[in-house]
Amino acid sequence: MYLIRLALASLANRRFTAWLTVFAIALSVCLLLAVERIRTETRSSFASTISGTDLIVGARSGSINLLLYSVFRLGNATNNIRWDSFETLAGDRKVKWAIPISLGDSHRGYRVMGTSNAYFEHYQYGRGQALQLAQGQILSDDPFAVVLGAEVAEALHYQLGQQLVLAHGVASISLSKHDDKPFRVVGILKRTGTPVDRTLHISLQGMQALHIDWQNGVPAQGKARISAEQARGMDLQPQAITAIMLGLHSKIATFSVQRQINEFRGEPLLAILPGVALQELWSLMGSAEKALFVVSLFVVLTGLIGMLTAILTSLNERRREMAILRSVGARPWHIASLLMVEAFALALAGVLLGLALLYLGIALAQGYVQANYGLFLPLALPSRYEWTLLGAILAAALLMGALPAWRAYRQSLADGLSIRL
């Protein structure tokens, strides 16, 4: 115990360099843990984007492309699916439920998705969690109703009953707006941490009504225009949709249904298993995530090497201290232990300060990160894996401390009791 007291007093005597060392280790530990946490959360939020859906069907293209536009609202579909194809698939006896999805419009940078109420009933994310309403209700018979994702409502400060205008296309600044047919907010969903939060949901009929007077990709002019009131009275059955999400009665049938869809005679279709496509997509991003982790490991190593340098350079100027300790009875292994204690104390202080910085950082950035990246960083105690990392850092510090300890041991044996300047 007295050795610890001596080591700390000696460190306190060199507090400026000691604090710098601790701070360097703390920053590196904080970085490592932050990367680790973001990595874990990204992976789990990524993997939990969609669940419960057995197959996603779209026009024939790549599986990742289909996953990106149907689930992540990224990119565009290459082609549409005819409505009668949807009806055929939805009527198949192996299919339990089918969600039609129609994409292509946006509102202030957020994607608009036309769908049916089957979406609110069957779509699941995370571990089989269903979508829940925070306020209002799901889509009604009125074609001009919209249900907002949590982030849309929060970021744009929308409330129930508010009117909003959708824009044609998906550019965040769109030149053509559907300003003749405003939508009314009827519901706001609870936060899910998935792309659902960033989506505006309207009915397929609403989607159809928006484009009912459009021809060749441009709105009709003058008398050909159809007002919202007129549209309400018309047949709003959609002719085409963008993608379909399917739930099957039996998981075992998944592959046979997939094959059946891929060989569909009506039009070229592609069916994918969301889990498999998610994995494919993650393996694309996974190497970047691993690289980030490796980089932060090296930053920790740099911090520890900084500590090693600080201790080693202090050895020479502390020969007197060592000789005095030897003359009052410290044996060489005492001197070596002093240096081990010193290395451990520096690393421990660094780890603790790093943890403090991490929690401070999470507390400050939590709201911002969730609002901007849809990533929830919990203010949770370190996981078992994180404890292991921290333990490994301390062990590495001890291992590194062995080097100056060994040198001091040799030095104090050679110097004996004589004080050399």
């Binding site: 007295y2 001596l6 007093a9 000696s10 306190a12 005597n13 007197r320 201290e321 005095i324 300790l325 030897r326 003359s327 009052v328 009875g329 410290a330 044996r331 005492h334 004996g416 009791l417 004589s418 004080i419």
Partner: protein
Amino acid sequence: MSTLIELTELGFAWPGQAELLDIPSFTLQQGESLFLKGPSGSGKTTLLGLLGGVQKPGRGRIRLLGTDLGSLSAGAREHFRVDHTGYIFQQFNLLPFLSVAENVALPCHFSQLRRQRAEQRHGSVSQAASALLSHLGLVDPALQARRADSLSIGQQQRVAAARALIGQPELVIADEPTSALDSDARAAFLQLLFAECRAAGSSLLFVSHDQSLAPLFDRSLALSDLNRAARPSEF
């Protein structure tokens, strides 16, 4: 009076060098104060290292309190030294980051025996430190609690003396402890050191090149007379 140190036919050479020490016979009695004149290069540091058990003699015997140091293992020699020997060096003897009182108490953290003796005589280690410091003229408790490097050199040497004496080691080895002091301080320091050594019953082995101090001691010797290996060219 019994014999504290006894050297017989002691020889020592650093590896690859000529023999540095060759001492046929030397004794120091318990309670005796001895002035050993040793200019630098005369093997003084090596002799003190041997007495402290840091090195092992090449040949011959060193007996301290009847124990042959050469027969002990390195660890046991160290242990033996701490229990029975206190050291005072030239200057900067103290750990600057500890208080004056903590510096004095240091040997009691490494020697069980000296801790016990300090506790027996003064009740506790800190009381022993405080009493010794007071005897050596550092009475003020505030001063005893100050950082060691805030004291003057003369005061620091007295702290070092208190540290060498705590727990009443049988032997106090002082290696040029007064060389940094002016002549008045030197005499005052020696008087205090003698008094305390007498009170603790410790022998004092005082190594210095300042011959003027020699008459103050029970006995005075020149290392060059003791050591047959000493070459005349060095002094």
